[in-house]
């Protein structure tokens, strides 16, 4: 497969997952501001923006709900907003059209076509629901129409790495929100994990277990450990072990983080949640770089210097 195509596939996986996760995160955030009038809206919004590494307005100007939604949901230029990442996913799909199935392309293209209407027309909650549904359609088509060759590996690799990264950010927002923040139950709901969690722990739920579920559960597909494990499997699938003494960089970054979460006592992780989650995000970024270096060598962008006579 061409490196350029592989890179596009990798990024389709990442962008669609990013839109999905951002929608989930913002849904919790907006709901919390609505339900709890005592929340400091400005502080809560600044906190969220900082987690997403987006600039907040200078202090006298409040960073309200509207600003957050514009920046993280509706901005069609920035790849870290929902609209932006959906557009970017469609751009990448356009470059890889001959590889991906028509159904997958149409799902991405239809999403992009409907985007303007969705951004303008509906209440935030309905927009988030729509985004989640579109992401589910894409992910379902990836599962049902893409052969399990390298194309699938790259799509799922991107999705898994993005999921680990975004779940880490989601957990960071909870850790930073302090005791008045939304409950862990709300976070479980936003990840679609509430029922799975209840079935696992049969109602004897505690905050610690809820956090542990999103961090460490081996069976729930949105937990960080599961997502990292899936990414590692994809990397293994892309390149079965040749050098028996060492691993490639990307797998090393992901595996190190996964095991450090898995083998550390849960209480130690929770006491230090923001920095632990930062580790996860940094590992994902480093692995992403390593994957780019390994699989998508683009060479330096060629620039015509002109012939010096």
């Amino acid at each position: 497969m061409l490196s350029r195509i592989a890179e596009s596939l990798f990024w389709i996986g990442r962008y669609v997952e990013r839109a999905d996760d951002t929608a989930r995160m913002l849904d919790v955030h907006v709901q919390m501001l609505l339900e709890d009038p005592w929340q400091e809206e400005d502080l809560a919004c600044r906190s969220l923006l900082s987690v997403m590494d987006r600039p907040a307005p200078e202090p006298p100007t409040p960073a309200g709900r509207r600003y957050v939604l514009t920046t993280l949901a509706y901005d069609s230029q920035s790849p870290s907003s929902i609209a932006g990442s959906l557009s970017a996913a469609r751009e990448n799909a356009r470059r890889a059209r001959e590889i991906i199935s028509s159904e997958l392309w149409e799902a991405l293209n239809a999403t992009w076509n409907a985007l303007a209407g969705q951004v303008a027309g509906v209440r935030p909650h309905d927009f988030f629901v729509w985004v989640r549904e579109r992401a589910a359609v894409v992910s379902g088509l990836v599962d049902s129409t893409v052969s399990r060759d390298d194309a699938w590996q790259f799509l799922v690799l991107g999705r898994s790495m993005e999921r680990a990264d975004m779940t880490a950010r989601l957990l960071t927002t909870r850790a930073l929100a302090g005791p008045n923040g939304p409950s862990w139950i709300t976070f479980l709901r936003s990840c679609g994990a509430h029922e799975a969690f209840l079935r696992t722990y049969r109602g004897t739920a505690s905050d610690e277990r809820a956090a542990g579920f999103l961090l460490l559960d081996r069976l729930f597909p949105r937990s960080i450990v599961h997502a990292l494990g899936q990414a590692e499997e994809c990397l293994t699938g892309l390149e079965p072990v040749t050098d028996r003494a060492s691993l490639d960089d990307a797998r090393r970054h992901l595996g190190l983080t996964r095991t450090s979460l898995e083998y550390r006592p849960l209480s130690a992780v929770l006491d230090d949640l923001p920095s632990q989650m930062e580790q996860v995000q940094r590992a994902c970024a480093a692995a992403s770089e390593a994957i780019r270096g390994r699989y998508f060598p683009s060479g330096s962008p060629a620039r015509w210097q002109g012939e010096a006579l």
Binding site: R4, P79, S80, H125, G178, G203, P274, E278, P301
Partner: protein, 530 residues
């Protein structure tokens, strides 16, 4: 136009509007509604209905699945009003609990002449099979739904008790969820007591009722199956408690215990929260043609290896003739005065009562003693001559089977109907969970509303709707949230910029140079078609 401009002053006590003004608890709701146009209100009502169809919140009427109707205007109960209702409900549950323990045990109340023996043993739901069963924590009424109404003066009265398998709590949970989405501004402005912890409390109460010696009890919800009208509720409760939802054939009894069939082999069941009527529970003891139960369940319950919740035979306590004795039972067992009064009721067994009722049949409500869901009720003023004659014959034939009550002018709450907001009659079913050491009353409950004008029967099986019921907790505002400085110190923090991890993007996205060149290339091709 003001939504309330043409709101008619009904004959009954209206909970929201008093003349031109809104009553205390409804002030904000009234304000928000007044600021809206009828179109806005309808948009919200539509979004509520759509969300119900999507979630599958349905009620089965004669085999047809319909979205459960939820009205857009909430029912609001003030802090002080609730401070009367909640203890009243809890008191009633405690008295009924004591009565059941007595009836199926020493029968002191009968010996002491509080309740006639004939009333107890002639109840269709008095089951001898339930006598002498010891319960692990002594609880028989794990869940109760006490139907209460407000009369023409605004006072609360108990209409009936439900201690068999009271249903409707799922609509309390889903109504609340739907309303938070539709009226975020009201939830922001008011402190409304949350209802979401009901499944947790129910599970705790069921686990507390497990046979002694079981340290991690397995609880299941037993449903008659998808054909049942309350199936939605059964799935919702099982889902939110994280327990198995079983049908009769999933269970079997062996070695004196109840088991369920799983892919991992049999698994012991300790507590059965059954939503199946007594008669169908165990074909060995009750109806032999029942396919919904589990043969041998009663034997296991008697041996104390499984707890059935609510207990078998509870129906004797919500028999409508026993209802007339409940105030006496409260005084007898608890030594307290009833907090919530009954509706005046004639016992037709007493010759004087029967004579008076037959005389005034046209102005009374007559109910069968063992009915539920509004079945068989005859409202005198709305009945035809022929209906009344038929009723008269039935009363003479079986006076034990009926009670009569004056027509209670149930309070009204504004409700959205085709013409706009109109007063419609409501009742309230608060739910109580008895964990043994404490009776917890869910703040709010199911408000049912009779949608046709003047209709007084509110049951959902009779085409009634529902309203989300808000119990205000103003006290909460003043107390724990007043400590602002503390709250600020621990409020949301930011990630320091050196710890923020940027969100990456495909470096090849939007590389404008390349795009321009590609477009240019394309342009040149078009100039020279070949």
């Amino acid at each position: 136009m003001d939504l309330f401009a043409d709101y008619p002053a009904g004959a009954a006590w209206d909970e929201m509007v008093d003349g031109q003004q809104a009553r205390g608890p409804y002030r904000q709701v009234h304000q928000v509604l007044t600021a809206m146009s009828i179109g806005d209100v309808r948009v919200r009502a539509d979004s509520l209905a759509r969300s119900y169809v999507r979630q599958g919140v349905t009620f089965d009427v004669a085999g047809e699945e319909r979205p459960f109707p939820i009205d857009v205007v909430p029912r609001v109960i003030g802090t002080d009003e609730w401070a009367q209702v909640a203890p009243g409900v809890s008191q009633r549950v405690r008295a009924l609990e004591a009565f059941l323990a007595d009836v199926y045990g020493p029968q002191r109340a009968i010996d002491d002449g509080v309740v006639p023996r004939s009333v107890v043993v002639s109840s269709t739901h008095f089951h001898r099979a339930a006598c002498g069963i010891d319960l692990a924590n002594g609880v028989r009424v794990h869940v109760a739904g006490i139907d209460i109404v407000r009369d023409a003066a605004g006072g609360w009265r108990v209409l009936e008790d439900n201690v068999r398998v009271p249903s409707g709590v799922s609509y309390v949970l889903s109504n609340r969820q739907a309303m938070t989405q539709s009226f975020p501004e009201l939830f922001a402005a008011l402190r409304i007591a949350p209802v979401a912890d009901y499944p947790r409390r129910l599970l705790a109460a069921l686990q507390a009722a497990a046979p002694s010696g079981v340290d991690d009890p397995t609880v299941v919800v037993l449903t008659p199956g998808v054909g049942n009208s309350a199936y939605f509720e059964h799935t919702l409760l099982a889902r939110l408690m994280g327990v198995e939802l079983v049908e009769g054939p999933d269970l079997f009894c062996a070695a004196g215990r109840v088991w369920m069939r799983t892919t991992q082999g049999r698994r012991r069941v300790d507590v059965v929260y059954r939503r199946v009527d007594d008669d169908f529970l165990d074909p060995v003891v009750f109806r032999q043609d029942s396919l919904l139960g589990c043969p041998g369940l009663m034997t296991c319950a008697r041996q104390g290896t499984v707890t059935v919740a609510n207990a078998v035979g509870n129906g004797v306590a919500d028999d409508k003739l026993v209802y007339t004795y409940v105030p006496d039972l409260i005084r007898y067992y608890l030594g307290e005065e009833p907090i919530l009064a009954n509706v005046d009721t004639w016992r037709l067994e007493e010759p004087d009562g029967l004579a008076e009722v037959l005389d005034r049949l046209g102005e009374l409500v007559v109910k069968p003693v063992d009915g539920s869901g509004g079945k068989g009720i005859v409202v005198g003023p709305f009945a035809t001559r022929a209906q009344l004659d038929a009723l008269r014959a039935r009363l003479l034939d079986d006076p034990r089977g009926w009670i009569a009550q004056p027509v209670v002018q149930l309070s009204t709450v504004p409700t959205l109907v085709a013409e706009g907001l109109r007063p419609r009659h409501v009742d309230l079913r608060p739910f109580a969970v008895n964990a043994g050491d404490q009776v917890h009353v869910l703040p709010g409950g199911l408000t049912r509303v009779a949608l046709p004008e003047g209709e007084l029967v509110v049951n959902s099986s009779q085409g009634g709707g529902s309203k989300d019921t808000w119990v205000l907790g103003d006290f909460w505002v003043g107390e724990s949230r007043s400590a602002e400085p503390v709250a600020q110190a621990v409020g949301p923090r930011e990630v320091a910029s050196e710890h923020a991890v940027p969100i990456a993007a495909n470096p090849h996205d939007g590389s404008t140079m390349v795009m321009q060149q590609q477009q240019q290339q394309q342009g040149e091709c078009e100039e020279e078609p070949c």
